[in-house]
């Protein structure tokens, strides 16, 4: 046996040596060639433009990935597919991938060279790993053939946000979903009945919020009024949702809103490390205060979402973070626990902070990557026009979201209304068919972005009110400028940034809980410095300045 093992080890050594040699030989694909005009075999439209329906001159087909959600499982005979073909002469050939492992399969298909031409449902940032392989099309070279996309970017002044997608080579590789306005969704949900009963006004600032919680605590001494969620789920970050929407009002970033705790300082014209800033400290001090006074539940940082929701729906807490979907779910639970009509809950405007009434957010959503092999496709130009029409024209977006006028919906006084027998997200509860399940419209794979009008067309009245109020009362902060790095720099930066981010997250939780006193703030900042905070900032700022020089 020992002999065999020895032989084996030898064999392995040889194989690894050989393979590393071979790997060294493989040629580096450079993408420095300038983009030529897209291929066209006469299928594309010569006079395609904004306001025109794309229709290929001959029937063609394109392959696409499809993100299959369990609650509206893929069907071949959806009206969606036939309607696309009817209007555009394009037949989509989907590769159906379960939503649970979409990212993994996408990466497999791209790496093995087997990816479909259209790769939808890609979040900005997810394209980065594939850039250096050359498997993804630098779409920025071709957007000039996409009039609707260009038009919306210009009309909605989205260029600064698009610039954030640029890689070190100055190109971008993902076509994002475009929103007309920032779409705030996460905020505090409160028991409005309890607030009303005790004559407590809905708080408009974090100070008022604290005062309101105090009053509640006085009236209900055995209740911890605020018990929060989203510390342990999603991309795990202590009080992920709460800090995300609170941070901008304190003049910093936090929670889900940041991946590396770096933010741009407009006055100094450079990036600073938010996790070590006095604004961040101020925010932690505020929430630590809530914990100290027994207003915020200590378990908020450790409990599961279910536990937090159970406290809220059983009347053991009065405030919780929520979004438009969750509040509906909580209502159905509370009808059972507290009884319908015996309570009322609502999303309130995000309270203002020391930096005023501000919100931050991107207007870019998940979007589309295109396989690099598309440029060798004889119908490449038609592909670009098709994508532009389906994902970026008003007509295409409406088709993806609402379906076919007269079949799935109708317009009454300019408002879109579902046909009587069709339901969608509870908008028409008496409908027996579902717009997504039975027709394939309004799904996450194809319907994203669009005008505020389109976005709000499927929201409940209550949610539209919240949206309007947020838009009227809040100022949207400008987005950070881009700081694209080369692949090797990026790798090095990630090596520094990962432990840094972890340190910030851990200490955020400790400072809020009070297990580490805020008097140790300076020691904490030195820890960050020891972990390479300044070096990381230098890399970011250098990349930022290089980009500024290049783009001039």
């Amino acid at each position: 046996m020992a002999k065999i093992l020895k032989k084996l080890a030898f064999l392995v050594a040889i194989v690894t040596a050989l393979s590393s040699l071979l790997a060294g030989c493989s040629s580096d694909k450079s993408s420095s060639t300038t983009a030529s005009a897209p291929k066209d075999k006469g299928v594309a439209m010569a006079d395609y433009g904004v306001g025109k329906t794309f229709k290929a001159t001959k029937p063609i087909s394109f392959t696409t990935m499809y993100n299959d959600a369990a609650w509206y499982a893929f069907k071949k005979d959806w009206l969606l597919w036939s309607e696309i073909t009817k209007r555009t002469n394009v037949t989509l050939k989907p590769t159906v991938v379960p939503m649970s492992d979409y990212a993994q399969k996408r990466s497999l298909l791209i790496s093995s060279g087997d990816a479909p031409l259209i790769i939808p449902k890609t979040y900005p940032g997810q394209e980065t790993p594939f850039v250096s392989s050359g498997a993804i099309l630098p779409i920025s070279d071709y957007v000039k053939y996409m009039p609707n996309f260009m038009d919306k970017v210009k009309k909605w002044n989205l260029q600064p946000e698009i610039d954030n997608l640029r890689q070190a080579d100055g190109k971008y590789y993902v076509l994002p979903g475009l929103h007309e306005e920032v779409w705030p969704d996460y905020t505090l949900a409160v028991r409005t009945d309890i607030f009303e009963k005790n004559n407590i006004a809905i708080p408009k600032t974090w100070d008022e919020f604290e005062a309101a919680l105090k009053k509640l605590k006085e009236i209900y001494p055995d209740v911890t009024p605020f018990s929060d969620r989203w510390s342990t789920s999603g991309s795990v970050s202590p009080l992920g949702a709460l800090l995300q929407y609170a941070a901008p009002t304190f003049g910093t970033v936090g929670g889900w809103g940041t991946s590396n705790y770096v933010t741009f300082d407009q006055d100094k014209n450079k990036f600073v490390f938010a996790g070590a800033s006095k604004e961040y400290k101020e925010m932690l001090t505020y929430f630590n205060g809530l914990i100290k006074e027994g207003l915020l539940d200590k378990e908020s940082l450790s409990q599961s979402d279910d536990q937090a929701v159970q406290k809220f729906v059983n009347g053991k807490s009065f405030v919780i973070s929520s979004n438009s979907q969750e509040i509906v779910t909580m209502r159905t639970s509370m009808d059972k626990t507290l009884g319908a009509g015996k309570y009322s809950i609502a999303k309130i405007d995000v309270p203002g902070g020391p930096k005023g009434n501000v919100i931050a957010g991107s207007r870019l959503e998940n979007g589309i990557m295109i396989s690099a092999k598309a440029k060798d496709d004889p119908n490449f130009k038609a592909l670009l026009q098709f994508i532009d029409w389906f994902w970026y024209s008003d007509e295409g977006e409406e088709l993806a979201k609402w379906g076919v006028e007269g079949t799935t919906y109708k317009k009454e006084n300019g408002k879109r209304v579902l046909m009587p027998d069709i339901n969608f997200l509870g908008l028409n509860p008496s409908g027996t068919k579902d717009l997504r399940v039975d027709y394939g419209f309004g799904t996450g794979s194809f319907a994203y972005g669009g005008t505020t009008d389109l976005l709000q067309s499927t929201m409940s009245e209550e949610e539209v009110k919240f949206q309007d109020s947020m838009h009227q009362n809040k100022k949207v902060l400008p987005v950070n400028p881009p700081y694209p790095m080369s692949a090797t720099d990026q790798e090095q930066a990630t090596l520094i940034s990962t432990p840094l981010t972890d340190t910030v997250k851990q200490n955020t939780a400790k400072f809020i809980l009070g297990t580490r006193p805020l008097s140790e703030w300076n020691a904490y900042v030195s820890e960050l410095k020891a972990k390479g905070m300044d070096k990381y900032l230098d890399m970011v700022n250098k990349a930022y300045q290089d980009y500024q020089k290049k783009s001039k």
Binding site: I4, V12, S100, L108, G234, S235, D335, A447, Y448
Partner: protein
Amino acid sequence: MKETVQYKIFKVINVLILLLVIYVTLFPFLNVVAQSFSGQAEINAGKVNLIPKGFNLTTYQTILHDKTFWTSYRNTIVYTVLGTVIAMVMTTTFAYVLSKKRLMGRKFFTSMAIFTMFFNGGLIPNYILIKNLGWTNTIWAIVIPGAISIFNMLIMKSFFEAMPEELEEAASIDGSSTYGTFLKIILPLSKPILATMVLFYAVGNWNSWFGAFLYLDQSDKFPVTLYLRNLLAGATSGQSAGATSADDLQQIGANIKAVTMVLTVLPILMVYPFVQKYFVSGIMLGSVKQ
């Protein structure tokens, strides 16, 4: 024999500890079963433990009427049956041959097989291989790659090695061919190990989803495990990817999840008690070498 006091104490503590183990292992399962019969609101409110609250059967009815579920279910049965048959034929014959000391190059073949236990080509080469064989979107991509589990093969090999050689000698003197000996003498004597292997492979095939996820692009070919996984993990992974669109964050009722889980594990759960006695004796095989 009289039991000493210490022994009695030991027995009591033993039973208590084992009861605790039973509780810990059974509770999550029974909780899922209870949830499957409960109302959604009661589950959200955290009222359901071991006894269903707000009893309802409508979810069962909905899921049992869901065509996608049944298509997946049928696929799983086909994959499991065919996969197990193929795996049994391949593994048994391979193990039997390797158990013969007179086989030329026996050591070489054995070490080749063992090599694959520790090293493999990795995900992408595997994918490219299956693609170039033209097996993507076919049943072969599911049932062939896992046909021989080396671990199982080694267990079988030691079982065959333990059989007295005189048995085969006697058979060959009586005029039995090699295949005849294998089919009529060896296999009937190997029922316990065969049963164990069938169980191993059947459970493995039933539970597997990764191969199907990699090699299949059409949802009407997905096995039920992939359907279940998408149901359970779909919403969560959407969120962790930073989903902003509310449509994709839709919560699937805990009740629907529970029903699907129960329906998925049910058949394989029912097989277990019948093969269990072989299972225990089979797993011990090869643990002692004469």
